[in-house]
Symmetry: none
Subunit: 402 residues, 2 copies
């Protein structure tokens, strides 16, 4: 059954669903015979939910495939990320809080170092630190091109985002990074006639930018990649008739949530408790809350096993605040695995806990961990099934057929 | 995610993968409450790998479907055998070591018995034994048809393979077996105009063959089926950027491996140890080794439970020779099940063991057997996922999306 078919089954009820995503939750033991990060963490509250609920392993894309954060979240939101591509430029822009609307063209920018002949000698400008790159980005913001509005924002180190807004722009543009040193940055080339206007405008902007950069010691050039526009995804309201809200500290995840029509809840602080309080403050306004915890992933990427354990324990300690709201469905999972052992995203399936007092069929597992989830009653299933499972356990889906 | 997408994710690393296929590995208990062949076998080495690795059940085609050896191996190789048909004639020819190239037409031949009116009285020529059929096949080899080269080779009992090579041949031909007694063998009929030339040539060959056979007491007729040519499958190099080699005793499996571009490693002997030594001798030349063990299946087909147990124990005893090579990924599985209790291939999912010290997420299982695999962390999964899993655990796949 296809996801789009859910629309015809939606029931008009007022149950509430909470999706708590600990980014990169899945892990690995550091030593043979050892435990994973989640298995090591003391999680009495999540273990209680595991007793009362059901566990399983969620597969973000398909067997063996390691997802980026964008595709992994789209899967959890019920949108097939293989069929629906969200361009890198759009994710990069949303990641720093720059909105990309349909018809805007966003790109990822890299500063690079050019030699005396204008050839690239370092594709990442010596990985210049953020504090050096920020003032350079400020200078780029001064460029004006008649007929369009341009927004530039620094991302991290040598990376920035640029978004062009105006009439008749198409994102069908070739990237300007020659992907090697010893070659000059390429011009922006239109992939078709409709994109010629955007190509010309981006080339004008690049010419102006190179004038500004020419005396920089390292970042005296730039390349643009991942030209893209808002992919026009269906919204949570359209797909599921849910008033959905996002509580996330990092802009990237707020961006993906916006792409599917979630409202952003503003709040101060960045602890799990701060995030859960933001949910509590808006409890009556929404049917669905997506809560994103970033630091499980950051610690995994850093190879910091103990740090990741501590983040998980911090989330666990705050869980009673969520339970006190009496959600009808609480799902605790990750978007993908980021084992500290591998220091990067991985393909391993993701621990998944579904708690729904009125409707769940509990399995026999008594704690939340990778190996418990391997024995969980939900088995291994595609993350695309997250939303049908959530809606069903919230009693929001009518019967299919007579 | 489609398998063809893996190409864009391939990472240029030098890790090594070994796929050890024990043909027909899956089994059944002979008595209620009993153990299967694999559970009965003493396999201390594979049990150690089970402790360190992860288990699961591989489904060759889909639930309830019993595969032939060709489709079952294609699945393990990552090629959907339902979408990609390899004609029976091609498999039969490769099975006896006859190569079929693009444009050649291969067919399976059956000897049959004709009555005085030329009608089939026995579609399998009384299942004449191999020693009677071999000299008849020798006579058929003498037939010459101008303009084409013809190769005939005996397979087993009443079965043989015939391959025609020449210009402008098409395999779109109807089979000549009327599928019942009391009817005459049919002529070869072209399914379209382009196949008329091949039809005429095969009919000429059949006419000559019947002249030679006419005084045989049992095999005085023949039928041809499964006309096919090389399906032009993508190679391991194209699909996975793997230098792949095959170590197999039986021609059929070397044939399937050749169809996906594997090199054949020549070696003497036919024990597991002989096969593993062949791998060791060529360890530096390849990234991927497919090792095929036939006798698990042969004993299963013969209903020889104890014989199959002994073959498995023989493989286990040689496993340290493989481990000594330090593969990054070792997968031990079967292509399908051949329970001695059923004396034939079956649809039951196949025990699957994945060992990869740097990247595997171990489950809680401590021995390699059907019931341990039912509780394994990989769950039940399509055999088509074997290659994505192998590549991922060898750290040969980049991240999908940002």
């Amino acid at each position: 059954m296809q996801i789009e078919d859910l629309k015809s089954l939606l029931a008009p009820v007022n149950t509430k669903i909470v999706l708590l995503v600990m980014d990169g939750l899945g892990g690995l033991p550091m030593e043979p015979g050892g435990k994973t990060e989640l298995e090591t963490a003391l999680t009495p509250n999540m273990n209680k939910l595991a007793v009362e609920g059901i566990l399983g392993q969620s597969c973000p894309i398909s067997a063996g495939i390691t997802p980026g954060s964008g595709p992994a979240h789209l899967s959890l939101f019920g949108i097939d990320p293989v069929k629906t591509e969200v361009g890198r430029g759009v994710l990069e822009a949303f990641g720093v809080g720059v909105t990309v609307k349909k018809g805007d063209v966003a790109a990822r920018g890299n500063f690079c170092t050019l030699d005396a002949n204008g050839l690239i000698s370092d594709r990442r400008a010596g990985r210049i630190p953020t504090e050096e790159a920020l003032p350079i980005c400020e200078k780029l913001k001064t460029i004006k091109i008649p007929g369009v509005e341009i927004e530039v924002k620094h991302v991290k180190e040598y990376r920035f985002a640029v978004v062009m807004r105006g009439e008749g722009l198409s994102p069908d543009l070739e990237e300007t990074d020659p992907q090697r040193t010893g070659a000059a940055p390429l011009s922006v080339v239109a992939k078709n006639a409709a994109a010629q206007k955007a190509a010309d405008l981006f080339n004008k902007w690049i010419t102006e930018a190179h004038k500004i950069l020419k005396n920089e010691p390292k970042a005296n050039g730039l390349t643009l990649r991942g030209f893209a526009t808002d992919p026009g995804l269906p919204t949570y309201k359209e797909l599921y008739n849910l008033r959905a809200a996002c509580v996330a500290v990092y802009p990237m995840y707020r961006g993906v949530a916006q792409l599917v029509g979630m409202d952003l809840i503003k709040f101060s602080g960045e602890t799990p408790s701060d995030e859960f309080k933001a949910v509590a403050d808006h409890w009556n306004e929404y049917d669905f809350f997506f809560i994103h915890i970033k630091k499980t992933d950051s610690n995994g990427e850093d190879g910091n096993f103990d740090g990741k354990v501590k983040v998980i324990e911090g989330v666990d300690a705050a869980i009673p605040e969520l339970i006190a709201l009496k959600p009808d469905v609480l799902i605790i999972t990750g978007d993908h695995s980021t084992p500290a052992k591998l220091k990067t995203h991985s393909w391993h399936p993701v621990p998944y806990l579904l708690w729904a007092p009125a409707s769940v069929r509990p399995d026999t597992e008594v704690e939340f961990g990778e190996r418990a989830c391997m024995h969980g009653g939900l088995g291994v299933f595609p993350a695309l099934e997250n939303m049908p499972l959530a809606l069903a356990h919230a009693l929001r889906l009518n019967k299919f057929g007579a």
